[in-house]
Structures are given as C-alpha cells and as structure tokens.
Symmetry: D3
Subunit: 339 residues, 6 copies
C-alpha cells in the first residue's frame, strides 16, 4: 500500500562539466537539482508512494528552477517554503578510470535552507500528513539551527506514530578538524530518534567510537551493528560495502540487520556511468522493502539492485521503477535491446 514519506533536507544545484573535461578545459555545465532527501523521496514516488520535500528555496529564478525540477522528479513541492537568498551549489568534474571524479562546493552555509529561521516550517502539520520522514547526516553537519529543526521534526513524526529514517552519511570535509568528536553527540541524538538507519561498521567505529578486533569488514559488521541497534533502539540498520576497480566498474554488496539477523545481498559488479546519489537509491530500496513488508532477504536484494541501476543513469537521482529493479534482480546478465 502506497505511503506518504517526507524528507527534510537541502536542495543542491548540481553543475556538471559534460563528458570528461575538467573545469579548466570546458565551457559548458549541465545543471540539475538534487540532495539526499530529494533522491530518496523521488525514488519512492517511482515505487508508487507519495514523496514530499520539506525545505526552503530562494524566491528567485534559481529557486523557481529548482522547484520545477523537483516536480519533474515526481516530488510534491506544496510544502516547500520560499525565502532566503541563495541555493547551495556544487560543481562536478567526472573522473575516468584512474582519475577520480571531483566535487567543489560553493558556500552552502548561506543557503536558504541553512539560514531558515526557527518557525519557518509547520512541523506539526507536516507530521500529521505523513507515514515517515527521512533525514541525513549531511544536514546534521550544517549548524545548530537546522539540527534543532531536524530534531523537532523527528520528534513530531515519532509522536504521531510515523517512522524516522536516518542516513548517517558522515562527510569528513563538512565537520572539519576533530570532526568525529564534534559529530558524535548529534549522531547519538538522531540515532535514538530513528527507526531505520543507514550506516556501516565504519560509522560505528569512527563516529560512535566503538571498537573491534576483527579485520574483515563483514566480521566487523557482525560484531558491531547488533550493538548499535541495541544501544540506540533501532529496529533496522542497513548499508553497503563498495569496492572500486580501474575499468570504470564498481562492486557493491548490501546488508540489512533486523530482528537479530544480519542478511547480505550477493556482491554485484557492474559498469558505472554516474556514481553520485547511488547510495540514496540503495536507501530508497531499503525503505520501500520495509514499507511494503518484504522479507529482509528480498529487501536487501531489491536495494542492492536499485543501487546498481542508479549507477547506470545520469544525474544524482534514481530513475528505476519497481518493475525495472525486479527485472534486474532476476537476470543473470543484462538483457538485449527492449523493443
């Protein structure tokens, strides 16, 4: 049964040099609008749910272009507040093979979202209309204002019986020096509020300061994740292990921890066209499986396939429908042209 899911987060303008030129070589940029919340709720609308975005955008042509783009992505924009002056922007230079992709940010701290004053959003009304809400560790890194808003909304949703979803998504460059220590209390608050959490063993070790004597990632995971779930009262934890190869291909393996069981997907290896946002596709798959009541084995396989397919389309935001993901799960090798 379709659900109503909101995400609270910033909309970023993505400015990408087309092809494989660098910024100093090119003269053209492709633009689109994305963000972790944008990607997750857009994917959920493709699976049949209703997706809202709770954010603030400037009342200028950039804010309008962002809103128009979000509608194109299937997102309900009726709850977006217009105000403030700026939109966060990032520049993307595509890597190729041995040369990694590169992201350069403009000053997102001055964005309409990150400067929204208290009282900008009517969280009670939002919470009344939804079945779940999604937050991300990137927002948590911004400033006290948005952190307070995150927690207010999470609490409002929890009070109404909705689900709180939190993607740890720790970005070292956003927390600066002494970052993990600074981040820890904020992460702990969000984890205590959350029902569904995206993280892996590295988050447990680095952000939460847990330790393990194991060396293999899978063993570390098995040792640490049950403790996190218990400590913070989280019903489902999921995440991925990724490895990157020199021929523009990656490998991805998803896991899910629920009801005391740790379940893995198969390890998928695939050619990569656009890596950005693929983690959000995995998260959307986990959320969808959970909303629909899939078995964990099915959920993690669905999420891994959703993640894989998101690497094959341009842009941050996943494009696959539920049918396309189910078909990709069934095939041993990619199909021929569909006519």
């Amino acid at each position: 049964m379709p659900k109503r899911i909101a995400a609270f987060g910033e909309v970023m303008m993505r400015l990408q040099v087309p092809g494989y030129e660098t910024l100093q070589q090119g003269d053209t940029l492709k633009y689109s609008f994305s963000g972790t919340g944008v990607n997750v709720v857009s994917a959920l609308t493709r699976y049949g749910h209703t997706g809202w975005l709770i954010t603030r955008l400037p009342d200028n042509p950039l804010g309008t272009a962002a809103t128009v783009y979000l509608r194109k992505l299937g997102i309900d924009t009726a709850r977006i507040v217009r105000g403030g002056k700026y939109i966060g922007i990032y520049f993307l230079e595509n890597g190729f093979g041995a040369r990694p992709s590169r992201v350069t940010y403009t000053n997102r701290l001055e964005s309409s979202f990150n400067t929204a004053p208290e009282g900008t959003y009517d969280f009670a009304e939002v919470a009344a209309g939804i079945d779940g809400v999604h937050f991300c560790g990137i927002t948590l890194a911004m400033n006290d204002g948005v952190r307070a808003q995150m927690k207010s909304l999470a609490e409002a949703v929890k009070r109404r019986g909705g689900q709180v979803i939190f993607d740890c998504n720790y970005r070292p460059s956003l927390w600066g020096e002494g970052g993990y220590a600074k981040a820890k209390p904020h992460y702990e608050e969000m984890l205590r509020l959350a029902d569904i959490v995206m993280m892996n063993e590295k988050d447990a070790m680095l952000t939460l300061g847990m330790s393990t004597t194991k060396r293999e990632r899978e063993e570390q995971l098995a040792e640490l994740i049950p403790g996190v779930a218990a400590e913070y009262g989280i019903s489902l934890i999921a995440g991925t292990h990724r490895s990157i190869h020199g021929d523009n291909s990656h490998s991805l393996r998803g896991f899910i921890y629920k009801d005391g069981r740790l379940v893995f997907s198969e390890r998928l290896t695939f050619s990569v066209y656009d890596r950005i946002g693929a983690g959000d596709a995995f998260a959307s798959g986990i959320i969808h499986g959970e909303l629909e009541g899939f078995a964990p084995e099915q959920t993690v396989r669905f999420a891994a396939a959703a993640g894989m397919l998101a690497h094959t389309v341009p842009g941050d935001t996943p494009m696959a429908t539920e049918a396309e993901i189910l078909r990709a799960m069934k095939q041993a090798s990619p199909g021929d042209v569909e006519r």
Copy 2:
C-alpha cells in the same frame, strides 16, 4: 565483380536520446533513417556493389529528409516512390551496463510503406535491373498488402534468375498473441522463395515448429538447420549466436550452412557502442561473401568481423569498408591510432 542488389522494406526514422539519459530526463534527440533493407544495401555499396531501395516515403519534409539521408548512405534512391502520409518512427533510449536499451515505436502500420496500394511499384522493371533482392521478417509482420508485394517481387526476381535473400528476423511484439502460429505460413512461403536465409535454431523451433532433444545451441543448430535447408530448398543459411555481458561488451559467433557443411567463425568478444543494426552488418557480410564467391569459412569470418565493427559506430547502418573488415579479421588486438 560488383552486383546490383535491391532491398524491399520500410525506412524508419530513428530518434535517439543522446548519451545515457532516458526520454523523461533529456530534451534532445539525434535523428537518422534506417531499416533492415537500408542497412544491408548501404553496407553492400561500401563493399563496391550498387544498392537500391524499393520503398515508399511521404511527399513531405520528413520523406525528403529520409531520401537525402539514404543518398548520404550511398543508396540509389531513384526507385523510391513518394506518396502516402507518414513515416514509421522509433525512439531509442541507450542502456548502460546493467540497464538495457529501450525502443518505443510509433504507429508504423499507417506509414507510407505499409499503406502503399497494389501497383505502387513496377516490380518487373525492378527485377530486370538487379542481381538479387533482400527481404526481412519485419516487413512480413506488417499486413497482407506488403506481404503480397514481398512475394510478387520475390517471384519476379526469381523468374529473372536473381537471388532472393530473406532475413527471418522474428519480432514477437509485431505478431502479437499467437504470433508464431500466425507467422508460420508466411515464413514458409518466403523460405520456399529464398536462396539465402538468415536465421538460427530458435527460428526453426519457434517459427517453423521443429523440435530437438539437444541442449547446446551449436548441437541444436547442427541438427535442425540442414533439415530447414532441405525442406525449403535453401542454398545457404547463416546466422549468429550472441551473449551479453555486464560491462557493455558482447560476444558473437557466426555460422554458415552451405553445401551440407556447417561452418563457424571464432567467437568474438568486443566492447559495444551501438548494438542496433549489427545483425544487418552480419547479413551484409554473408551476402557479400556469397556474391564474391568467398569460401564459406572466409564468408562467415568476414560477416562476423563486419558484425563486430558495426557495434563500434553510432547509428543502425554499418560504416565499415571491405578493407577495414579485412584488417579487423587479421589483427589479434585492435591497432593503435592510424596516422
């Protein structure tokens, strides 16, 4: 010695989303004009033959653009009839890795070609000027009118001593429900008229209803194809086995059955840029080898290399010359930049 070969078939407008965006993401289409007959006779002109197209195009800017494009492909357009109102169109969204390419058709049944009334073409005159004619199973799927035209032209060419070439090319979506049964009598008529046929063991089983106890494709082929040749009086049958890998590469192996011998090419594995129309390149290689009197071993290797190279250029229509194909047959690995 160069020959004069005609193809009877529909010209389609190909509208391709450039790069790897889907139709809902993009805003631009690249257009070209193609079709099985177009691809085959264009390839033959690159090998030194003269290629005619027998078709009908609307007398509007789209029909003119198609004619101009066919001339660019080296095709003699003097026998193309202008009339009717529409041209068949298909949209192509490129797949990437795990995501397959996708083709969406507009209503080709209303096209100038598929609505050409009896008497549109002067088949006697056409037959008088050529050494062979090419038909395709896609045309056979259209309607009674074009089927009658196919058979009239095939008979006219046969009467004049020319060769009849038929590519089975069964497309399930065109025949609809109960498709194989509906198709069988029409295929049988064409096979009885044909000297050279493109097909493989699946056509024998599905369309002609033959059966085998073998499980390997090569064994099925060895069991079934001689029977087809004998049953319908076909002098040469050729085709391919293809497999598709997750890293944008395919493998292709060609075979030829002639004078009681089944001959295979080596299995070629190669990166794929544009898969559509590559089967027509293989067919053109078979026809060229046969017109030039190559040994079957040489013909099937030539055809497989022609097919391989056709995957490396944009567009449906093969671009390789005979010299380029011969060079590709000789090299163990691709050459460095040619200066």
Copy 3:
C-alpha cells in the same frame, strides 16, 4: 482569488530542429510536449490558479516523458488517464525572415487521446472539482468520439455552474475538403455551450457563414461579433489581429467584446523568437482577466502583453508570470538587464 481550471485536449510531442536548419540539413531535434489546453492551463498556473489536464497518454516511455514534462509546466497530472498506444507528434522547422516556419504532423488520429473509448474519463468527478474548462477547435476536428467527449464534459461543467471556454482555432488542414461546411454544426454546438469564446471576424464569416459589406477588419469585427454573441448566447468573445513583417517581427492587436462593448488593445509590434502557442498566451490572459474580474480594457491589454511575451521565449507554452506581464504593460520600451 485562485480558481481551478481544467483543459480537455491532446498532448502533442513537439520535435523542433534547433536553430534555422531544415529537417534535411540537421540531425538533432529538441523535444517538448504541448497542446492548446496544455499551454492555457500552464499559463494559468503561473498566474496563481490550479490547472488540470484531462487527457489520455500511452503507458510507455513517451507517455511518461509527457507526464513528467507537464508536471514541470506546473500542471496537475493526477487526472490524466494512461492507455492506448501512441502520442501525437509534430515536427517544427523554424523559418527565418522571408522563409516561413513549417510544421509536419504524424498520424495524430491514432493517438491515445483520439482513440480513447467512451467512459475513459469520469467527467462528473472532473466537473465537480473545477471552476471552468477549456476546449479548442483542433480537438473538434478529430473524430466523433472526442467530439462527444467534449460535449459531455462541457455539459457536465455547465450543469455544475462552471464556465465553458472555447477557442475556435479552425485549422483548414484538419477538416480537409469542404471543411467549413463539415465543421459548422460542431462549432455551433460548442458555441452554444460556451461562455467565453476565442475567435475573430474570419471565423464568423468562414465557419459560421456570416457576411459583411465592410472591408476593414476592425469594421467587420464590429459588425459581426455582436451578432455571434447574441446568436449563441456567449458572454465574452475575444481575439487578435496579427500582421507579419519581413524582419522577424510581428504586430498584434487584441480585442474583447463583452456587455455590448468592443474594446481594443493598442497595436503591439515586437521581435519574434517562437511564434507557436502565442495565441494560447493571449487566451490565457483573457481567461485570467475574466476570472479575476479585471475591466475589459485591462483584460485585453493584459492578454495582448501576455501574447507578446510568449513570442519571446522558446517553446509553445507561455512562461511569463503575472508580474512580468504587468511590467511589460507599463513600459514604453524594453528594460535593460535586470540585476
């Protein structure tokens, strides 16, 4: 006060050769989705109203791309029915100066919209949710099925007290030979149902068969339009007179007839970038003025400025906001760069 307006009509895919090449010169097309109804309700959403589209689109990637595009235009797509197989397509080659633009259609009669069976739409539900509905003479030219649907919906809206808007928009190529005679009874039916009508003296003479001894267009208008309003019980008739100059500029003068008064806008002369759909911008201005209760003088000036601005943006669909139109009405000459 914002109103809820629906349009009933076909969505067309527009395939435009970029720049000034013809179809035989180019190899790229820019695509978008439009239609008279699309243009009118999209413009109305920019003025603050809610705009629905009542139509049928195929359940394939083209139908999805169209739906996504309509959302981008601000249109509520929740009432769009998915089914049928095709979408109508037109090709546009831009003219330049002395060379007129050229439009070539594919077979729109087979489109999902034009083949929608009776009962496709729940007109009672639609009528219950809106304040007005827009129809266009292009739809009227299609076939008996859509004509019946037009009239059913118009009647349903009228019954609920909503306004019926009809744009005569007679296209000779759609009605074929003996066109005006064939069209007349259908136009008369729609005129009797309509409250607001877009037409001018040519429609009165050619479609409705009225005659006048006057030679100047303004005089013909003054003589004929009051009679049309009286005869068919129409409360407001509006339209434009256009002239085309050799330097890529046009002149436009709007008129409105209401409560027995014929009011003209000034004659605007302006450079033209994209002429298609500009008539729909004028119509949207008339409807907005009427919904908002502007004086006729203000309404016709607003509509003329909306029409003028629509010639300055790419695409069929108007992009100007109410504020932008009001500013254009105030300025004697265009403003400098806005910073």
Copy 4:
C-alpha cells in the same frame, strides 16, 4: 524540361564557428562542403534538373566525407575523380550587426583539385552527357593548370552545342597585387567562350578596364553591360546590386540583360541569417529561368527571390525548391507558420 548541367570547380570544406563566437572564443566548428559549382548545381537539382560535379577529391576520410555530403545535396558524384592529398578548407566566423563575418583560408593551392594533372578528367565524355557547364572566376584565379582545364572543358561543351555559363566572381585576395591586370586576359578568354555570364558594372570597370561618366550604379550598368555583351558575344548577362544595413538585413536588386533589354527585379530587403553562397542562388535562378525559357522579367524576379531565400538558411548551398521560390515571389509579406 529537366536538363543535365555540370559544374567544374573546387569543393571546399567550410568550418564555421557556431553562433557568434570568434575562433579564439569557441571550441567547436560546424562542417559542411561547398563551392560555387557545388551550390549552383545543387540548386539546379532542387529545381528538377540533374547536376554533376566535375572535380577531384583526395582518397582519404575527408574526400569521402565530401563525396557523401555532395550526394546529400542531390549532386551526381559519379564523375568525381579521387586522388591528390588535400581538400581546400575555409574557416568562417559569423559577424553580427556592426561586426562583419570573417573568412580565413588554408592553402587551397595544394588541394587535389588545384593539383590535378592534365588528363585527370575525360572532358569529351563529360561534354557528351550534358546540356551546359558552369565555371567561376575563383577557379580562374588558381593556376595555369586549372585554367587550361576550364578552357578545355568549355570548348568541348561549346563544340557539342552545350551552354557555357561563367560567373565572374572576382576575388581581390586571390589575384594579389596588380590583380586586375593579371586577371584581364583570362577573364576575356572565358567571356568569349561564355553564353551566360554573371557580372555587374564593377567587373566591367575593374576587370575589363571599361569606363563610364555616370555615377549611379544603374546608369553605369545601362551604359557598360550592352558593350560587354557585344564585345564578347554573350547572350545573357545578369547580376545584383547589394546594400548592407546595420540591423542584420540586406537589400538586393537583380538585373538581367538579354536581347538588348536591361530588366531589373524589385529591390528586396530582408533579414540575413547566412550570407555566404547567396550569390550562387541568384545565379542558379538565372540559369533555371533561362533553361526553362522564362521571360527575362520572370527570370530575374525568380533569381532575386532565390537569392533572398538563400540568406535565410544555414550553409553556403541554397535549399529552396522551385515551389518555395514561386511562393516567396507572390507574397507581399512572409507567411505565418505552415501547418
């Protein structure tokens, strides 16, 4: 009745910076292939004649691309000789308003055409198959080899009763210092061989050294052109007067002198998109009128309209059909969108 016309001349590769950037600003070039002879015979094929090109192109990918492009333009390429090493190239930077367009040449003297040895072409065979042949003063400026070839072919055509057409087309930069004196004897030879000549009063004064006391161009023309026709035995002389305005528009007036009468077209003023090659469109109109036996008044109006329309399409080569030119001649102002 359709005629067979050949042109003898060089094919140039045109490399144009798209839009209005200069070479130092841009990074992209649009390429096509043209030349005076190319433009004239391509235009004639659009009017229903058969057009051959007699030239020499290198046997490399550039020569192949040129041949393919000429076929796209409707030109019969069967008599093109492949050999030599290079193709002439010119770069075009579009001007805008007060900034003139700029052309930069590469070394065309080393081109396959300009280095073709004696005996390259079988002029007797060419002459046997055609009704007329076109030459241009640009070729005359190249070197003794091509000048000898021009004269041989002109004489061969004259002997077979075909018409010799010569466009004076004097380019100062090609003849260098003391250019007119160097050019005069060569021009005189060609004028004596020619039946139809494109020139105006400036050619008479500068190249042929004639003088006049008149000051107005029309009067100079009336005084000088009859003398040229008499002196060199030319049956038809035609040309244009052009003026250039600051708003991207030009004015053009054509004239024709035949049977002792000097006839002018009206002065046409129109917006200009691509000025290059428009003179060839005028010439093609004169030739067509003459081949078809139009009255001089009709011929010059047809040619002027052909010239005007050629300014409205991208590329050097005219694109208008006879029907489109006839329509442009009839209309007082440009038509609205053609649907």
Copy 5:
C-alpha cells in the same frame, strides 16, 4: 606607447543559459569569467598594453579555471593571490525583444576577493610596476575591507605618479535601502583620488546629490559634469547615454569632458547580441585614447565604437582590436564578409 595598467576587482563566474531559454526551461549553462576590471584590462591588452589583475581567487578547481580563463583573455595573472574559499557567481538568462535579460547573483560577499584580509596584496610592489589602475563602484559597494584596499592601492598609485581610473557604476541592488546616502561618502573619497572617471548626470544627481533644472539629458550633463570635475579635481570625465528599442537594438552616444570642453560622439544605433560588459568596452576606449594622447573627439568616437562592437560578441569581455574599432569608425554601414 604601450602602458602597464592594473585593475583591482573581483572575478565573477558567469553562468549563462544558452539561447533564449530561462533557467526553469534549460538544463545547460555556458560559463566564463569576467568582472569590470577583467573586461577593462583585457580590452587594453588587445590595444597593445599590458594588463594585470589584482584580485584573490580560491585555491580550488574553480579558482584554477578562472585563472586559466584570464590568461586566455590576455591578462597577466602573476599578481593574483590564491586563497579563501569561494568565487562570486552570477546567472544570466538572455532576454529577447520585449523580455529583458535577467541576472541572479549568488553570495558574492563570501568570495575570496571580498574576504581577503588586510595585507593580502603588496600594493607598493603593484604600484611600482604600473602606469595606471582601474577601480569600479561595484567593488566600493562590498564591505569596509575591500573599500580600504581600494583606497590604499589608489593612494599608492597616485604617490608613484600613476593614473587612477574610477568607474562609478552604481548598482542599486548592492547598496540596498538608503543606498545613495550610504554610498555618497565612499564615492566622494574615490572621486577625489581619481584622474579619469566614468559617470553621467544621473550619478551626479543621485549619488552626489547635485540638482539641475534642465530636462534634457545633454543639458543636465553640460550643467553638472563641469561642477563634478571642479569639485573633485578630476581631469577627465566620460560616459554614455543609452536607449533601448523593441527590436533587439540599442542606441548609444558617448561624451567626454576634458579641459573644460564637453564633446559627444555621434549617436550609434545597432543590433545587440550581448549587452553585458559593453560599458567596460566604452571605458577601455576612453582609457586607451587618453593613454595614447588622442584628441577628445577621437577618443570619444573610438570609445563609442568599442562599446558598439562589444554588443556584437558573446561574453562580457570586449574582443575587438584597435584596428577593428578604427575600421568600424570609418564605415557608414557594416562591411560584407571579409575574405
């Protein structure tokens, strides 16, 4: 004799929607780097001088791309300091005819330039190496830090006998409410330091608070400008009057006040391709004329032609050479294609 001129000012990234789409319609941006100082010193290098830019750019890929672009513009980048985090960005949507162009800024106050701490630049060293320095009123609007730097550098240059050039360039949106009053003392300080000033009668009235009883702009100028020059000890004041027409053309008339004489250029009317930065081209012409010792009549005509030509090329930065400007001054109408 070539001079060495520096400009002190911010480098902005310009992100322009190509063609005439708005930000909500397009998906691509063309980028370049500019700024008043950039434009002026780049133009001066085209006239043969050496141009330095004194600014601060971030040490990231955007800063590198900007530096690379400035080198392409001919600017000496050796004195550019790398540091800080951001670059100012503006978005440009091209207007057309009746629809004005629109500029949207990101937060330039956080840019590397506007946050450069005291001591960032070695002004003594800069002043020692140059003959003149250029400042702009836009920089003056930023903050106290850059204002202090402007004045320090101006004083350093004055002490060394160099010329101080100041372009008033008042932008209302940058000074906010009560803007003129806030700006006045800063403008007065700069005017007292300046030798050459760009301004017109509006600056005198609005920023400096002067008044006049005249109504015509030329008369206001004649009354006010001598007073400004006297009051602030300015040796040369220059500026323009612009009017904007509905057909994408503008008119421009330049003036210069020097040695007690007010001299005007003719009023130039021309088609406009890219209006942004054209004022800087005028300024560069004034500076060049003054550096070279032209008579004021020649200087103002040169500057007006430089301004006119700058409207005909894409981008903010003028591209014309001295030779091109001199030619444009001589011609009554634009020339034909230059070959």
Copy 6:
C-alpha cells in the same frame, strides 16, 4: 626548484569529431591546439616550471586562436613569432574498441612553422633564458630548414650549459619510402647533441640499424639501449612499452636507463579515454623527475603515472598536476568521488 624549459616545434590544430562518429557521419568538430612541444612544456608548467614555446604562427585569426589557447595551457607565448600563412591541421576520428582511431593531416609542410626562413628566431636570446630545450623527431622529418633550426638551437643551448632533450618519435608516414635510411643521419646528429632521449628498442633497431638476437622486448632493450647511450653520449634514455586491449584499455610500462642502470616501472593497465599525447605526458614526467633530481625508480614511476592519467582526459595535452600524479602512484585502485 622550478626551471625554465623551452620547446621548439610546430603547433597543430586538432579537429576532432566528438563522440564516436566518423567524418562522413558527423557535422561538428571540437578544436584545440597541440603538438609534442606544446604538450611537454604545458605539462612542465603544471609541475611548477616555466614553459616557453619557440614556434611561428600565422598572423590571422587561426594564429591568434592558437596563441590564446597556448596561454590557456600555461605556456609563455612571448617568444612566438607571427608570420607565414598557414597552421598545420589534423583531423581525428575516435575509434572504439575493435575500431582504431584515425588521424588525417592537411598539408603541414606549408605551415608558418615549416616555412619559417632562416633568421626567424633569435636562438641566442632564447638559449640565454632557459635551462633546457625539447625537440621531437616529428620536426626532424619536415625539411632541411627546420632541421637546421633544430640543430642551431640545440647547439646554442648546449653552449650555454642547458640540457637538450630529444624525443625520437619516428612517424613512418612522414619519412615516406626508404624512410629509416633517410632519417638515420638526422637522428644521429640530434642524438649526439642530446642529454635526455625518449626512445625504445625499436628505434635502436629500425632507425639506428642496430640488431639483437633477443626476442623479448625487455631483453632487447637491455641489450641495445646501453649501446645507444654509450655511442651517442646520452646521459638518460627513457621510453615505454604499450599493449592495446579490445575493451578500450591499454597497458603501459615505462623504463629509464641512467648511470648504467635500466629501471622499469610496474606495468599499469587502465581504461583509455584519449590516447593522443599520452607519450608526451610520459616524457614530461621523465624530464620533471630529472630536473628535480628524483631517483630513477621514482622518476619512471612518476612518468608512467603521468602517462596513465593523460589517457583519462580529453585532448592531446596532459592536465595532471604533480600532486595528482603522486596520489595516483600511491593508490592501488582509483579513489571514490573527491568531495
């Protein structure tokens, strides 16, 4: 410590068909300017050195565009001489997988560089300002004039104590028939002047006529290269072994011979985006290592990584900084997106 390095060589215009179309399929070219010397000194400027180019470019818009582009690449253009008429041009059609890339040249022998008369350059002044100079075997193949200039400059640099770098770079198509014999004396002269040489065992065998009984390339190298160094008095010889795979990947292994030791880098295998110019990146790495006094093991690994990264960016000219190359040397597999 940064050094000043000059290269003496031709600037070529590169005209590349974008994507994977051939010249006969496309209509657009991407242009840039490069050359062995351009690539090497541009790379050296990215490592912190100063790079000059000693060449001659035409005084026309192409020469200006080339100069502007070289500045963008970081090259000091102050010593470039303007004169002559043409610039060498090459066309590049990208290969894909089994289809090799293809380069077609225009007549570079007539270029400004290759026709520069004696005395064009002031070699004494050049030699006085630099620490080293780079030459390439391509220049050696041109004509006696440039060969004499090469040797004059090499001798002048040697006299001043600078280093002479020579890249053998033998291109069979440039030397024509009997090429190796014709080339040998010229190569020997340059080798005797050179301190650092790029070559491998094939050059030793084919150009210098040395022989070996070994079959493996590494063994041939070990046998022949010390002899070359001894014979011609070369202090450092370096080069690469490349192999090409069918999936758009190459393998590369570098070697360096110095002080009697032959050192290899590891064999790197990587996906290839643009292969042209990658050899120059390797050479620039060798030169940088040598200028900076790296150990040979570090130098050859740095050079191999520089070569590898040059395959991952568009264009002939390397783009990687020293920091990027050092990072690529450290990583076992490519990194994830850098944020």
